[in-house]
Amino acid sequence: METISEYLARWPAAQRSDFVRHVTRENVYAVLNKETLDVRDFLTLLSPMAQPELEAIAKKANDITLRFFGRAVNLFTPLYISDVCTNQCRYCGFNAKNTQKRTHLSVKEACEEAMFLHNGGHRHILLLTGDARTLSSPDYIADVVRAIKPYFASIGIEVYALQRDEYAMLVEAGVDSMTMFQETYDPSLYAWLHPVGPKHDYLFRLNAPTRAAESGIRSIGVGALLGLAPFEQDTFATGLHAFWLQHNFPGVDIGISIPRICPHEGSFEVKYPVDDRHFVQYVLALRCFLPRCSITCSTRESAFMRDHLIPLGVTRVSAGVSTAVGGRAKGGEQHAGQFEITDHRSLAEMVAAIERIGYQAVIKDWEDPTASSASTACA
C-alpha cells in the first residue's frame, strides 16, 4: 500500500503551484458540471479562479450535502481532562513554557465533569488531553473511557499520537473515534512550529490516523490548523489525506475538521491568515471533493459563521464548549483554555439555532451495539 507520505509526495509544491496558476474560469465551470471530482478538480476549486464562483460552488456543495446528509447536524462536546503538556507548540495555549496553572483530572474528577455534560443532554463526547504520556497515559485515558462509557453513546479522543496497539486498547475500552490534527503538512514548517516534545516527530503524527484505522476504530478525523501555511498548501493536503484514508480504509468513517487560527490569538503571529471568503471556499471544495466526509466546525468560529456554514457542508458542530480543564461540575474557577472560544452557545441554544435554519440537531447518532455497561462506571 502506498503510504500517506508517498501519496502526498505525488504533488510537490512547485507542481501544485503551477497547476493552480493555469486554472481558468472554464476549468472551474467544468468541475461544477462533474458528478465525481478527482484530485485535480479539488485543487481547481481551491484556486483563486474559483473565488468569483463561490455562489455557484455553494449551490453544488449544498446539493451534495442534502443528498448525503440531509438536513441533519450532529452535535458533540469536548471534555478536556488534562492540560499538562510537554510540547512547545508555538501557537498553542497549552505550550509547556506558558506559566499558567495546570490541571490533571483524576478518573473520578473526569467522571464528575462527564456526568455534568451527560446531565446537560450531551451524548457524544470528545476527550482531550495535552501531550504528557507519563501523566495522561493510554491506560489513564482508557480508565476514563471505561468509567464514562455507560453515559455516552459515542466517545472520541483527541490526544497525542499513539501506537497501533494503544489505539486498539482504547477501542476495546469504548472509544469509537479519533481526531488528529496534523496542523501543517509542510515538514519543515512543522518542525519549526513544534520545536520541542514528542509532537516534534512529523511522520509519527502523520501516520497516527493510519495506525488508528488499522486498530479497528470506527471513525477518524483529520485537519490542518488554517493560517500556519499558505492557503492552498494545507487545505489541499488535508483533502488528500482524507481521500487517501477513505480509499485505503473503506470501513472507516473519515471526517475533516477545519480549525482556523485567529490573528489575535496570544502572541503568535499568524503568517497566512485565512479570511472568511477563503475559509468558505475551503469548506465548499471539501464538500464537493469528498461528498461523504463529515465536516466539523468548532467554536473557534463565530455563531454567525457556524450557522451559515451548515447548508454549505458542515455536518458536525460542538456545543456547550469549554477548552479549559475541570471546574464545570462544581462551578469553580476555570483556567485559561487551549484556544479562545468565539461561539459560547449551550447545547439547548445550539439546538434551537440549528432548528431555526431548518435543520435537525442530532444529539445521538451512533451507539456501539456490542457495548455493555462497565462495572467501573462512575455512579
Binding site: A30, N33, T36, P52, A56, A58, D276, F304, H308, L312
Partner: protein, 260 residues
C-alpha cells in the same frame, strides 16, 4: 503524448479488446483484428481444438491471446481450463468466467474470487469477469487480479452501460485497470465507458453481430479512442455559472462578515 496502459508489465497501445465468437465464419477474424487495431483477443478454451484446425488458425501473429474459461461453472473447472490453456501454449493470461446460471449468464463472484486466488498464486495473469460489485472487486484485487472486468449489461445483450453507476464506483475505488466487458453493443456505448475512465473495453457480440463486422470493428476502434481522448482532455463546462443567478442566497452572508 503516448497513452499506453499496462497489464502485468505489458504495455498496450490499443484499449479495445475483441473476441472470437459468434462470427459467421472464423475467416473474418483476421480482418476484424486489423480493423479494430486490437492487440488482445479473447478465445474460449472450449473452442480451441487441440491439434485441429480451428479458431486459433485465424488469429494473426502478434495478437496477445486471452484465453477465457467460458463454460466453467465452478472455480475448480475454471482453474483446470486455465491450466490446460497454459499447457497448450496459450500463455499465462487468463480471463476468468465462471457462470452457473445458464438463464441470465451472470458471473458468479464468489467462485470467480476463488479461481482468481488459486491462479494468481500459480503465476497466471488473471483478468476476472464480474458483476460490477465493489466488494467482489476488492476481493479480486486482494486475490491477485491484474484487472477487473465488470459487465456493462448482460452478456450478448448489446444494451450498453446499464450498470454505469456501479462501474463508475469501481473506476473511482479500484486501483487496477477496469476493463468494461459484456453488453457494449454500439460504439457510442464504448465511448461512454472510456469517457467515464475505464481503462479499456472488451467487445465481441457488438462487432460479431453487426451486418458488417469489419466496419463495426473499425467504428469501435474510433469510439474507444475518442472516449479515451475525451477522458484525458476533460469534459468542458456548460457556460458561465455566474450568469445564472443574480443574487447569492448561500454566500451572501460573506458580505455581512466583511461589513461587521
Amino acid at each position: 503524448m503516448e497513452d499506453t496502459f499496462t497489464i502485468a508489465g505489458v504495455a498496450l497501445q490499443s484499449r479495445l479488446f475483441i473476441g472470437t465468437g459468434k462470427y459467421a465464419s472464423d475467416s473474418l477474424i483476421p480482418r476484424v483484428c486489423e480493423a479494430s487495431g486490437s492487440e488482445v483477443i479473447t478465445v474460449a478454451l472450449r473452442r480451441v481444438g487441440m491439434g485441429q484446425e480451428g479458431v486459433m488458425d485465424h488469429i494473426p501473429q502478434g495478437m496477445r491471446l486471452l484465453p477465457n474459461t467460458s463454460g466453467a461453472r465452478t472455480a475448480e473447472e475454471a482453474v483446470r481450463l486455465a491450466r490446460l490453456a497454459k499447457a497448450a501454449g496459450c500463455g499465462n493470461w487468463v480471463k476468468i468466467e465462471v457462470i452457473s446460471d445458464t438463464r441470465h449468464l451472470l458471473p458468479d463472484g464468489y467462485e470467480t474470487c476463488k479461481a482468481t486466488e488459486l491462479l494468481a498464486k500459480e503465476g497466471f495473469v488473471v483478468l476476472p469477469y464480474i458483476n460490477p460489485d465493489l466488494y467482489v472487486a476488492r476481493s479480486l484485487v486482494d486475490a491477485g487480479a491484474s484487472v477487473v472486468m465488470p459487465l456493462a449489461a448482460p452478456i450478448g445483450s448489446n444494451r450498453g452501460m446499464r450498470t454505469k453507476e456501479m462501474i463508475g464506483i469501481l473506476i473511482e475505488e479500484i486501483d487496477v485497470p477496469i476493463i468494461v466487458d459484456a453488453g457494449l453493443g454500439a460504439p457510442s456505448q464504448a465511448c461512454e465507458a472510456m469517457e467515464m475512465g475505464a481503462a479499456a473495453c472488451l467487445v465481441n457480440t457488438g462487432i460479431a453481430s453487426s451486418g458488417d463486422p469489419v466496419a463495426m470493428a473499425c467504428a469501435f476502434k474510433i469510439a474507444v479512442e475518442a472516449g479515451r481522448k475525451a477522458r484525458i482532455a476533460g469534459l468542458g463546462g456548460c457556460g458561465s455559472m455566474g450568469e445564472a443567478h443574480a443574487s447569492s442566497p448561500l454566500t451572501g452572508f460573506l458580505d455581512q462578515t466583511v461589513a461587521r
